[in-house]
Each structure stands twice: as structure tokens, then as C-alpha cells.
Symmetry: C2
Subunit: 324 residues, 2 copies
């Protein structure tokens, strides 16, 4: 197995990627890592037999326009994606800007055969700790019912292969539980999902139940998915900020905060609101994994493991089968 | 001024409405209240000169299908709406099912001249305490750009007349800040809103900023608005539930909870997450006000005051001017 690793595009720069690559390379001697980035920052990786360094002088910045990636051919991100295009690697990992990375994948990596539209998937933490996959969360400004059916297949394969759920339940994001809810597209999507025997479709889900964890995969068009994801993310982060402010507002409340800390950690542990925000690239012919922009070495290493498992379980080809 | 009051359709039945009507009637001797409901439950209102009791034997239940309201002609809700239809009152207040009430208004109350689609508006509490109006939150499964422009006018008049904001800022819910974001409808809506000199349009807003309180009115189609509202409502309520559970999880945390109570109350006071969920009916030729289903007498009285202010400020006709 070969994985391309973009070492440069995250908020914390190359050091965290170097650290993650070192530990990953030791644990997976069978995997070749092709690391793109400024070679003078990657010297610590030189002595590994299973690491190749590909010098890349440009860096795609978080603040760059996503479309700018077209012209950033010398960047670590594009060089990593180009290896996927040329079948030189089985997967790519980057913690760069989601917009640029997705745009780059769209431009340079082949779409999976049979997939009309690639998309972004988020794995939402849920209050019951189970988690749920939501797609599309913003790659497309609109989608057809058939595209939603394809998203359901991709999400279902992911839930099965990566999350170990044997018969993943699927729901359609809608404005009510009944079959006739939503506009024509949603009604058609409902019928397609219900009629597809390979999918365990269990009906609509409303916005208020997104984090209840009562299904494994939620499909929606990219516009609604983006609005839903960002609404819940903004609410969770905003609310936690207010609560933190309250806890620090007086000596009395600071003592109180110490006393509730353990209980809060235990209960909120199941619902890691900070992890909302990352996204997976679905519908490409290679495993394209996005680590959080603010990833530390541990988080980046997890993203590498995810890419490894995706390739190891042949997830991409299994998605293709599901679509046929 | 005359207001129709549906006394029966809330979760807590007629007693809370009777109490609210008594106090309202005393404070507003100039207003005639036409109260619909089972007359034997409204005997305490008999002695008021400015209250008329209209016997209604049926009650629209929270669990009834919204479309059922077509056949519930003898219900307190429909009888109240019919008075609006016949110009016998200037406004209507009910705490019944939002779906049934809106459907009833659609069927029985005239749409405001020039309005293509009536809609539901929610006043969201924001972290900075200012609050913001979001419309449509679910009356329509889809909308045109022109309809969004009309929503902006209605929201703007509401913000000005009822919330006392002199030049309300307006934003379009979208998946990014740039003008070209979203699908054709959103791009057209952006152009219409920007080109309308009567509107103080200040650009797009993303889901994550909905509760930041950095604008007064947010317009969107009914599908996206419903998804946004319910996503943030579900997240806020779910998160508060988890936190409450944590606070009660041990003796230590219970003591901590007592110590943080005041600070928490103060900080969260600005953001009353419980009040998300109610909605106003916009685009009708009368003031149609919906109190929360679970309203107590104080909440119902507030809804009556809102209807009073809407009629007093001639909000409905001012909306008409804005649309011309």
C-alpha cells in the first residue's frame, strides 16, 4: 500500500505531520509513505526505508481561494493529489483547507466510476456516543434525488467497513417525518431510497434529531447539509463558550466549575462537539482523507489510520459495487 | 381594536387563556376580545364588558393532522380564524399546533395583497441578547428568489415596528460569504436583495453564525430555514440535557451546580434557548400570532400584547407598502 501525505498545509505546519509519519511508518512497515513538502523541513523522515520525500516548494494556505489550487501545481497538496491521479498511491491525507483540498481532488483525482457527484461527508458526534454520517455537507449547491441515492450507498459502505456497523440504517434529512414532505426532489429521493433493496432506508429525519444518534447515515443535498452542519456546530460551540464564561465569572463559580469538571467530562465525552467540522471526501477513485486543519500529531496519525483502513478494506471499490 | 382569541388549543387548555384574557382585558379597556371555546370553561370571562364569548364545541388537538383543520369548522381555532376572514377582528392569537394554525390561516385568512407566499418567522435568541428574525422556517418546501425578497421586506417591517430597530440589517442564509455561493436561486436572491433600495441588505450569512446576532433579519427558503432552526434547537436542547445530567451525576457535582447556578443564569439569560420553537405567521391580511403550545398565562398574555402592538402599529399595512 502507498499513501501520499501532504506535510505542509495544516495550521501547525510540518512538525506534527513529521511526528505522525514517524510513528505510522514504524507501525506499518508494509506501507510506503510518499510525503510532499519542503524537504528541509522533512529531514527527520530521511532515514525511514518506507518513506519517500517529494520536495514541494509551494504551500496552499488556509486563506487561499479554493479555486486558486488550479494554479498551485508546485504545492505539497497538489503534488500529493497528482500521485493519486497517476495511480502512484492508493490514498491521500492532508490537513489543508477543506475547500482547496476538495477542489483539488475534483480537478486532479478521477471520480469513482458510476458516481455522478463527489461529496463531503461529516461524521457527527451524537449524544448517545454512536455517531452518525451526514453527506453531502457542502460540496454541491444542489443535488438530484439519484445523487442522494448514491450518497446513501457511499455512506452505507463507509459505515459498514470503517465503523463496523453490519446493516447501517439510512435516513433522508427532511422537514417532517411523512413520505410527502419536502419538495419534488425530496419526495423522489424518498421513493428511490425506499425502493433500493441494497439500502436499509428507515425514513426521514428532522433537523432536531440529527444528534440523537438514531440512524447511521443521513443523506441530504449539499446546501441543506451545509446549513445543518454549520447550524449545529455554531450552536454547540457558542453555547459552550457562554457556559465557560459563566464558569469563570466569579470565584464562587470557579470553585463550582472544579466540582462539576469530572461529571461534565464524562457526559460530554460521548459528545465531542469539537470534532464536528472535519469532513471526508467521497466519490473519488482513491481514498482521500482530510484531517482537521488544527490537527496535532495524534489527530493526523488517526487520519492516516483512516486512510489505511479505507485502502485495506477496499472501501472505494466496494462503493463502486453498491452503485452498480 | 378587536382580537380573536382561541382559548382551547394549547397544551394547558383554557385556564391559562382565561387568566391571560382577564388581565389583558383590564389593562386594555379599548380592545374587544372575542374568545372562542367551550363556553362552560369561559364563565369567568362573562362579566367583562370588553370580552365576547363565542361558543365552539370542537378542539384542534396537537396530534391532529394539520390538514384536518379543513373539516374542523366548529373548532375554537377555525372560529377565531373565520372572524379574521370576515373582517370581524384585526388579529388572532392561538397557542394551538403550528401546522394546523398555519394551514387554517392559509385556508381561511386572506393573504396580504402583493405577497406571493405567506411564511413562518422565528425570532431566534442570540448569544449577544439582541435576537434575530429568521424566515421562512418551514411553511414552504421551496421558494423563489422574489419570494425571499418579499420575506426580507416583511421581516424588516417587523424588526422596525415591533423590535424597534431603525434600519434593520438583512442577510441571506447561504453556504458561504461570497455573492456567487449557493445555487441559481440563491444567486438571484442575492442580486434582488442587493438591488432593492428599501432593504438594508448586508450579504450572506452561514449556518454557524445564525446565533451570533450580527444582523436583524435572515431570509431563506422554507426548507433550509426549517433545517437550520431545528438543527440549532436540537443541538441547544440536547446539549443542555447532557449538561444537566452531568450536574446531577454525583453529590460533588450537585454542590458544584449550586455554586455555578447564578453565573450560568446570568450568562444564559441572554440566550433563552427554550424560546426557540415558536413562530409568527407572516404575509396575511391580519395579525396572526402563535403563542407556544406549552404557554402559561404570562406567555399567552405576551402573545396577546404582540398582536396588539402589530395592529396598533399597523404592521400588516406597512408590510404591504414595502412590497409595492
Amino acid at each position: 500500500m502507498k499513501l501520499a501525505i501532504d506535510a505542509m498545509s495544516g495550521d501547525l505546519g510540518s512538525p506534527i505531520v513529521v511526528e505522525a509519519c514517524q510513528s505510522f511508518a514504524k507501525d506499518h512497515p508494509d506501507v510506503t509513505l510518499r510525503v510532499t513538502g519542503k524537504k528541509e523541513e522533512l529531514t527527520e523522515l530521511e532515514n525511514f526505508n518506507n518513506i519517500e520525500i517529494i520536495d514541494a516548494r509551494e504551500v496552499v494556505k488556509m486563506t487561499d481561494s479554493p479555486l486558486g489550487v488550479r494554479r498551485q501545481k508546485e504545492s505539497s497538496m497538489v503534488k500529493a493529489l497528482m500521485m493519486a491521479r497517476k495511480d502512484e498511491v492508493d490514498g491521500v491525507v492532508s490537513c489543508g483547507s477543506t475547500g482547496a483540498y476538495f477542489t483539488g481532488a475534483m480537478l486532479f483525482v478521477k471520480r469513482l466510476e458510476g458516481v455522478e457527484r463527489s461529496c463531503l461527508m461529516a461524521v457527527l458526534p451524537t449524544f448517545n456516543g454512536k455517531g452518525t454520517c451526514l453527506l453531502d455537507v457542502g460540496a454541491n449547491a444542489e443535488n438530484t434525488a439519484e445523487q442522494l441515492r448514491q450518497f446513501a450507498h457511499m455512506g452505507s459502505v463507509y459505515a459498514k467497513e470503517i465503523r463496523g456497523i453490519s446493516n447501517p440504517t439510512i435516513r433522508l434529512l427532511n422537514i417532517g417525518a411523512e413520505e410527502h414532505k419536502g419538495n419534488d426532489m425530496h419526495q423522489e429521493a424518498y421513493a428511490l431510497l425506499k425502493g433500493d433493496e441494497a439500502l436499509n432506508f428507515v425514513g426521514n429525519i428532522e433537523g432536531r434529531d440529527l444528534l440523537e444518534g438514531n440512524c447511521d447515515v443521513i443523506v441530504t443535498d449539499g446546501f441543506s447539509g451545509n446549513i445543518a452542519l454549520k447550524s449545529l456546530e455554531g450552536t454547540a460551540l457558542g453555547l459552550m463558550k457562554v457556559i465557560k464564561k459563566a464558569l469563570l465569572s466569579s470565584t464562587k463559580s470557579k470553585i463550582g466549575a472544579l466540582l462539576i469538571k469530572d461529571g461534565l467530562k464524562k457526559e460530554l465525552g460521548a459528545f465531542d462537539y469539537k470534532s464536528v467540522g472535519g469532513a471526508l471526501m467521497m466519490g473519488f477513485s482513491k481514498a482521500i482523507v482530510k484531517a482537521h486543519g488544527g490537527s496535532d500529531a495524534t489527530a493526523f496519525r488517526s487520519a492516516m489510520e483512516l486512510a489505511y483502513t479505507m485502502v485495506d478494506h477496499d472501501v472505494v471499490n466496494k462503493m463502486k459495487e453498491g452503485l452498480a
